[in-house]
């Protein structure tokens, strides 16, 4: 991510709009989600307010996801998410080694950003996992909690709503962890803030 001289236009307007909306909604959903889960009127957002915000933000995020999904189906951006299976694990390890050791020795990034390859292998893996597994599961389970008649009635004596809720929480937890790690790794640009600038002006 670190080495390149000419700025590359990597983030078209629609990606940037989708990204900023996604970030704001995820943040809102995490805060209100925690408030619902650990509902405590003295330290968390008031329950009824949290539920209303969480519901509306969840629906907006779903629509925003559809934009991302369709955009990636039919534009060049979707190509960045295609994983080349051969040697992928090895490349993952190289990137892992860079983040855990190389970066402290100021070694150059093993997979610098190019117009053809926006993500390093670790990014690619985590983005595919989150955007194509966790977020869809969060949306589907969220829909099940929003309208519980959609969930199955029960399995081995436990309500289908319980499974749905547990899945939703699991997804929420992974997304929270992802957001923290994602924000930290965004400081790995030329300067600590250059990647944050990129996602606003589109140029890397």
């Amino acid at each position: 991510m670190e080495n390149h001289n000419e700025p590359i236009y990597l983030y078209p307007v629609w990606i940037r709009l989708w990204h900023v909306l996604n970030a704001v909604l995820c943040l809102l959903l995490i805060i209100t989600g925690l408030s619902i889960q650990f509902s405590n009127p003295t330290i968390t957002v008031r329950f009824n307010v949290a539920v209303a915000i969480h519901n509306v933000a969840g629906v907006l995020l779903s629509f925003n996801y559809i934009l991302f999904f369709i955009g990636n189906l039919f534009t060049k951006n979707g190509g960045y998410y295609v994983i080349e299976v051969k040697g992928f694990f090895k490349r993952l390890m190289i990137q892992f080694h860079h983040y855990t050791i190389g970066v402290f020795k100021k070694e150059p990034a093993p997979f610098p950003v190019t117009a053809e390859s926006k993500f390093n292998p670790l990014q690619q893996f985590s983005y595919v996992a989150v955007m194509y597994t966790i977020i869809p599961l969060a949306i589907i389970s969220g829909l099940g909690l929003l309208y519980p008649d959609l969930t199955v009635n029960g399995l081995i004596g436990i309500s289908g709503l319980d499974y749905t809720d547990l899945l939703h929480l699991f997804c929420g937890f992974i997304i929270t962890i992802f957001m923290c790690v994602h924000l930290y790794f965004c400081t790995f640009g030329k300067t600590a803030f250059s990647n944050f600038k990129s996602i606003f002006n589109g140029y890397h």
């Binding site: 509902s39 329950f47 080349e84 955007m131 519980p148 009635n153 309500s159």
Partner: protein, 338 residues
């Protein structure tokens, strides 16, 4: 040879979604849907027939109404006077109360039978529950001793003088066992909550006990979702008294900061019941408020049926470890860059 999975993940997800939809349709089709059992209607609260107790009429002739008459011994004229509201005994209430079988003079001095009543009777010591019911085998099942020791640790007893007696909440002239005998839950809730509201909803009674300004109960509880429903269906003591499994009715009223405030304390004990109630609630919300308001802006949500402490701890530990790893990494990076 290049092994390139040249399929965009979006297509994979679309395929999985399709698969999921088919599986869902199959599972849903074989679901045992909710049974059509009808709820048995609750029986109406029985009202005890009023009995006549002529012996008490001597007192109730004056104390049973808002005015009383007497003949002035000197002028021989009939006088009309108002009876103070605190001294009025409602016959209807008294004769369905627990103490309906008592004569007034069983608890009050026989000197009251003379009129005008002797002035020193104002200082008469009044008996408490435990004075009659304590140590009595017949009443052992009501656990008066436990109730008394429970009450002694409550804020009512601790924060107020000895003037705060059982009678502050349980009027001996009207009190009746309700929760054990009444099948209508909402009537029981209303009856029990009225006991609290007698002081907490009446500034004149509240001020008798404290110099503090009386808090507005509705405002103090405005954080509570579905406030009206809670007030109708839940007794104040469920959240404000310490529940002990050894005592049926909790009497240890806790300080306000110790009141139950977490939804899951009540709503997560039986997730099967809760799940069915939740589904019902969402349907009702949509029916009453329309699709948008009922679905998105209603206050209904699950409060983690998974409120499982182990899971909570695991998630907090994992999250903390992630943040710690990030911090350590960042610190080493900053050190190396200098």
């Amino acid at each position: 040879m290049i092994y390139r999975a040249n399929i965009r993940p979006a297509w994979v997800v679309l395929f999985l979604l399709l698969l999921f939809a088919v599986a869902f349709a199959l599972v849903k089709g074989t679901d045992s849907s909710s049974s059509g059992k009808k709820v048995k209607p609750v029986a109406k609260n029985k009202i005890v027939n009023l009995e006549q107790f002529p012996v008490n009429e001597k007192c109730l002739r004056c104390h049973g109404q808002s005015k009383y008459t007497f003949e002035n011994a000197e002028s021989k004229k009939i006088s009309y006077k108002r009876m103070y509201s605190e001294l009025i005994i409602d016959r209807n209430e008294f004769y369905i109360s627990n103490h309906k079988g008592f004569k007034c003079t069983d608890c009050h001095s026989e000197d009251y039978l003379t009129f005008p009543h002797p002035g020193n009777l104002r200082m008469e010591a009044k008996a408490n529950c435990i004075d009659c019911h304590g140590g009595d085998e017949k009443y052992a099942k009501f656990q008066f001793e436990k109730i008394d020791s429970n009450f002694m640790t409550s804020v009512h007893s601790q924060k107020h003088s000895e003037e705060f007696t059982c009678w502050m909440c349980h009027n001996p002239h009207t009190y009746r066992i309700n929760a054990r005998t009444n099948e209508n839950l909402q009537e029981t809730v209303a009856y029990d909550n009225l006991i609290c509201l007698n002081c907490h909803g009446d500034v004149t009674k509240y001020e008798l006990l404290t110099n503090k300004q009386q808090p507005n109960i509705l405002q103090k509880h405005d954080w509570l979702p579905n406030q009206a429903t809670h007030f109708i269906n839940v007794r104040c003591i469920e959240c404000h008294a310490r529940n002990k499994d050894t005592l049926l009715i909790a009497h240890e009223i806790m300080p306000k900061n110790m009141a139950v405030k977490k939804c899951e304390s009540c709503h997560a004990k039986n997730s099967i019941l809760y799940a069915s109630l939740f589904k019902y609630q969402v349907k009702e919300n949509i029916k009453k408020q329309g699709l948008f308001k009922g679905l998105f802006l209603s206050e209904t949500s699950t409060i983690g049926p998974d409120q499982n402490n182990t899971l909570n701890i695991i998630s907090i530990v994992l999250f903390s470890l992630t943040i710690l790893a990030i911090l350590i990494h960042a610190v080493i990076r900053i050190q190396k860059s200098h």
